[in-house]
Each structure stands twice: as structure tokens, then as C-alpha cells.
């Protein structure tokens, strides 16, 4: 592989975003270097891919597995191409591997070509048109509905997904339950007849923010519950002021 080829690779923007998988990347390497697919040098191509991959890895560790698998496969192919084939019992010869790679690239190229050809065809609703005001014949009852197979299976997928969601189990959390808060408040006001700040119920040793919030929230909800029951009074003297709790004495 010449110096020149290495330089060209640098020109390629180092990103995998534009590629639809490793074969697509190989195909664009072929195109970038204007290599004739019929006279493809597999060794050159493999080297370029590996160089490219190497640079990508340095920039972005998050590389899709399929690029790495292809890289490993190409590295293996490269070693086979460079070393003479002495072990004939191996499952695949280097020629077979090269042929396969070439085939995959050509096939993808073929598919990309025809997918473009397809959309260059006359298109319904753009170049030719259907009957604008269709009439429907009543004998044919089933035409009343235009439910499609897609509607059917999509609906089923939604039912299944919904049912799966229903049976979600929530992992244990460190959150403080309203029930616990109710117990705390009740037992506290059994003995105390004074006004008490809601914030005082939050233990000082809570480092986790979420945990603090949950203790506060559950105590607030619990206090509302007790107000509703008629056993507690709440007071807030000004906006954003502290919330004070007081037992209601019957």
C-alpha cells in the first residue's frame, strides 16, 4: 500500500454516522479511491478499513459491534493473504474469503443502485394517478372497511406491549413511603402539642437528594391526609414560608 493511499484516508471525515454498516463503509472506500470493483485489491481494501477503524477507535470508543467484527474478520483475511496458505484443512481459503467479501460489496452496491432506480420510476400520485372519485359497489360488503394487515398486527403489538407494561415490577428504592410518614407524624403528635416545622421531620443525615425530597414529599402528603382526617392543622404564614403542623385537639 502506497503512502498516497494513507493520505487519502485522512481526507475521509472520521465519523461512522454516514455509513449504514461496515459493508457500506467498505463500499465507500472503494468509491473514494475510484477502485474498479472488478479489479479490486482485497488486501488494499482490508488495510484501508483497518486504518480507518484504528483512527475511529481513537476518536470514539463507542463503535458498533458490527464494525469491530468486520475489522477482526478483515484482519484475519489480511493475515491469510500475506502468509502462504500452508494449512489446507482450514475451513475457508483466502481466495474464498476475498471472493465472499467482494460479493458482499458488489451485492450491496447493486441494491443501492436499484433502490435509486426504483424511486426514479414513474410514481403513483406524482406521475400518474388513480381514480379521483372512486365508487364502491355495495354487493361487496367487505369493502366497507379498509382495515389492513398492518392495522391488525400493529394493534396486536400494542395490546401485548400494553400488557407487558402492566406487569412491570419496580425495583426497591430508597424512597420514603407516605405510610411511613403517616406513622411518624401520628406517633410524634401523640406526645407533642406544639407547632412543628415540616422540615424538622427530615433527618439531617440524609445525603441523597432524592431521598430528602421523597421524605419531604411523603411527610407533606401524610400531613394533608391527617388534615383531611381532622387530626391536624397546617399553617403557612407567607408564600414560600415554612409549613407548620399542629395537632387538632378535639
Amino acid at each position: 500500500m502506497s503512502e498516497l493511499n494513507y493520505k487519502k484516508i485522512d481526507v475521509l471525515s472520521l465519523s461512522l454516522d454516514g455509513f449504514e454498516g461496515p459493508i457500506d463503509l467498505l463500499l465507500s472506500l472503494v468509491r473514494d479511491h475510484k477502485i474498479d470493483l472488478t479489479k479490486l485489491s482485497i488486501l488494499t481494501l482490508a488495510e484501508q478499513y483497518l486504518v480507518f477503524l484504528d483512527k475511529i477507535i481513537k476518536k470514539d470508543i463507542d463503535i458498533a459491534a458490527e464494525y469491530l467484527v468486520m475489522g477482526a474478520w478483515l484482519a484475519f483475511l489480511k493475515s491469510k493473504l500475506l502468509l502462504p496458505d500452508d494449512n489446507e484443512e482450514e475451513s475457508m481459503t483466502s481466495e474464498e474469503m476475498s471472493e465472499l467479501l467482494e460479493f458482499q460489496i458488489k451485492r450491496l452496491e447493486g441494491m443501492q443502485k436499484v433502490s435509486k432506480l426504483l424511486f426514479k420510476r414513474p410514481i403513483l400520485g406524482k406521475h400518474f394517478f388513480k381514480k379521483g372519485n372512486p365508487e364502491i359497489f355495495g354487493v361487496n360488503q367487505k369493502n366497507q372497511y379498509n382495515t389492513s394487515l398492518y392495522d391488525l398486527i400493529k394493534t396486536y403489538g400494542e395490546i401485548i406491549a400494553f400488557n407487558n407494561n402492566k406487569s412491570i415490577t419496580i425495583a426497591d428504592t430508597q424512597l420514603y413511603s407516605v405510610e411511613d410518614a403517616l406513622n411518624t407524624l401520628k406517633s410524634f403528635f401523640k406526645h407533642s402539642k406544639d407547632w412543628k416545622d415540616l422540615l424538622d421531620f427530615i433527618p439531617n443525615n440524609l445525603r441523597n437528594k432524592l431521598e430528602r425530597k421523597s421524605v419531604l414529599a411523603s411527610h407533606f402528603v401524610a400531613s394533608l391526609e391527617l388534615v383531611k382526617e381532622g387530626s391536624l392543622k397546617l399553617r403557612q404564614d407567607n408564600l414560600n414560608g415554612n409549613i407548620l403542623l399542629h395537632p387538632k385537639i378535639n
Binding site: I136, K142, N143, D151, G157, E158, I160, N165
Partner: protein, 196 residues
């Protein structure tokens, strides 16, 4: 020679214009006003001749050119409409409930009514199964040998026919749904809120 060529061109032009008018009336969702056609053809005489031609051409067809208040439309001819029992039916999708029920029967058949209700989480209203029965997409199957011997439901050949399935097994399975993106949990939570 020149004249002949001109004549030929004129004729070609006329034929093309006639095709345009024909295609316009055919593809329009509403009857096409004369003025709309004139915008394309420009020459009134030519347009009139074209419309006369078309009326003649279609007069003995299964479809006629109708003129209603200076608007033009192709409609099924009266000769055949009596055989075809034409109704103006606007195709509509099945109700959500009916589609869900149909899908559940298709995937779980034979299935009893209460099993359907279990999966959907709501009770089955009367009309839902009736719609499917009327369409002949579902039919009663065996009775189940559980207490009460409930009736089971399954899909019909007409159902397979309508959805162009050779076999009920050809319905995509849950794995297929997942892989094709049709079983996306997050999507569903939002879908559920939207109005279908």
C-alpha cells in the same frame, strides 16, 4: 409536404390535449369545472370538441362522462349500475375495539369471550363481536371443556382471504413484531393517549 407535417402536428397536439382532459377528469376527486379545463386547453373550440369526443367515446362504455352544471366527471353508466348495486360507501376503519378483538382472536384462537376480555382488560361490548361476525371474519369454534363450557371463537377463511394470508401461522409472531418495531413499549404509552 410542409402542410402535411403541420396537419400531423396539429393532430398530434389535439390527441395529446384530449388525453390530458381525459386524465384530468379521471383523476380529480371532484367534478372538474369547464373553466378549469379551459385553463389547460386555452382554446374553447378545441375543448368543446374534445369534450364532445369524450362523451361519444364513453357513451357506450361501462363508464360515462357526466355533465353536471358545467362540471365534468366519469361515473358508472346506468346500464350497469343496476347490476353493480352501487352505494356511496365511504370506507372506514374498523373500530379500535373491533380491531383489538379481531387481533386477539387471530393470535389466540380458539379463545373464549372472557379470555378476550382478560387480555384487553375491558369487557366486550355486544356490537364488537357482532361486527366481526357480520363481516364473517370470526366464527364460533368448539366449546371449551371447562366449567360452563364457554364457546370459543376463531377466524374464518374469509378473514385469511381478506388479509391475504395463506395460513394463520403466517401472522408475524411477537419476536417479529419486536424486530420490526411494532412492539415498542415507549411508543405505546403515548399511542394510548392519542386519538385513533
Amino acid at each position: 409536404m410542409k402542410k402535411l407535417n403541420e396537419k400531423k402536428n396539429e393532430n398530434y397536439d389535439f390527441v395529446l390535449k384530449q388525453k390530458i382532459v381525459e386524465a384530468l377528469i379521471f383523476s380529480s376527486s371532484d367534478p372538474v369545472p369547464y373553466d378549469e379545463l379551459l385553463k389547460r386547453i386555452i382554446d374553447k373550440n378545441i375543448l368543446n370538441e374534445i369534450l364532445e369526443n369524450l362523451e361519444k367515446k364513453y357513451s357506450s362504455s361501462g363508464v360515462n362522462l357526466y355533465v353536471i352544471n358545467d362540471t365534468y366527471a366519469f361515473r358508472t353508466s346506468l346500464d350497469v349500475s343496476e347490476f353493480l348495486n352501487i352505494e356511496k360507501i365511504v370506507p372506514k376503519p374498523l373500530s379500535r375495539a373491533a380491531t383489538e378483538t379481531l387481533a386477539i382472536i387471530a393470535y389466540h384462537q380458539p379463545i373464549t369471550r372472557s379470555e378476550i376480555e382478560n387480555i384487553r382488560g375491558v369487557s366486550l361490548s355486544r356490537g364488537t363481536l357482532d361486527v366481526l361476525l357480520e363481516l364473517q371474519w370470526v366464527r364460533p369454534g368448539h366449546r371449551k371443556s371447562t366449567p360452563g363450557n364457554p364457546l370459543t371463537w376463531k377466524t374464518t377463511n374469509l378473514f385469511l382471504d381478506y388479509f391475504n394470508l395463506k395460513n394463520i401461522k403466517d401472522l408475524p409472531g411477537i419476536e417479529d413484531l419486536k424486530n420490526s418495531g411494532l412492539l415498542d413499549k415507549n411508543k405505546v404509552i403515548f399511542n394510548d393517549q392519542s386519538v385513533d
